[in-house]
């Protein structure tokens, strides 16, 4: 399953900022850029002699396996959390 929600939480000097990024709606909003992005990726693949289908498959797998990733950093009064669900 592709990531549904990316949460970024930042705390500095007691002030907490949270950013929730809903991935699917964001992709829908950015979908008009899909065609130029695919064209640019295709040209890049051809330039670097990488098979486009293999590259697409590998990138898709990477995206599919992202949910569950969690990175947390805390030092004193500063903290950063990135969570992918």
């Amino acid at each position: 399953m592709i990531p549904q929600l990316v949460t970024i939480r930042h705390r500095r000097d007691g002030r907490v900022r949270r950013l929730y990024i809903p991935v699917v709606p964001l992709l829908l909003v950015l979908s008009p850029l899909l065609l130029p992005a695919v064209a640019a990726s295709l040209i890049t693949c051809l330039f670097y002699q990488v098979r486009p289908v293999r590259a697409l498959y590998a990138l898709g797998r990477l995206l599919w396996t992202l949910p569950g990733t969690r990175i947390e950093y805390v030092e004193g009064r500063t903290a950063l959390l990135v969570s992918v669900r």
Partner: protein
């Protein structure tokens, strides 16, 4: 009491983490560990799904404030990552080999095959690194 819970309590007792942080860690631990099967039940051993890197330290230069890095990465993501690494074009691998040789690391990346990388990730499931120093601890394990 399992090993990870005991270590959290030890860090709390040593003042490396606060009670609030210890509670959060234990809650995360309970959430990540399923209930043990009932006695007598013989099911297949569950395979680990995540690679965890847990680093805690106390920085004496900033008034002994504790620090923590807690990373959880799905093992499937590592597998997908190594697949992506196999797409690196040969000329880039040659340049990487040259750079590694200059740095004194004579590894030939062109000899790495996808199946080797898969095997590497498979064996990563058995990794358990535990470093304990007076002011810091490092744990790398799969869960």
């Amino acid at each position: 009491m399992n090993e990870q819970r005991r270590q959290i309590l030890e860090m709390l007792a040593e003042g490396k983490i606060t009670a609030d942080e210890a509670e959060r860690l234990i809650t995360a631990l309970e959430r990540s560990q399923p209930e043990p099967p009932p006695a007598g039940a013989t099911g297949p051993k569950t395979r680990p799904r995540y690679l965890r890197v847990l680093v805690t330290w106390v920085d004496d230069t900033v008034g002994g404030e504790p620090g923590r890095i807690n990373v959880r990465v799905p093992l499937q993501l590592l597998r997908a990552g190594v697949r992506l690494a196999t797409l690196v074009p040969p000329q880039a691998l040659t340049r990487a080999n040259d750079a590694l040789s200059r740095s004194g690391v004579p590894i030939d990346l062109t000899q790495l095959k996808p199946q080797d990388l898969e095997e590497l990730v498979e064996h990563l499931e058995e990794v358990d690194i535990d470093l304990d120093e007076p002011s810091s601890t490092v744990k790398v394990f799969c869960e």
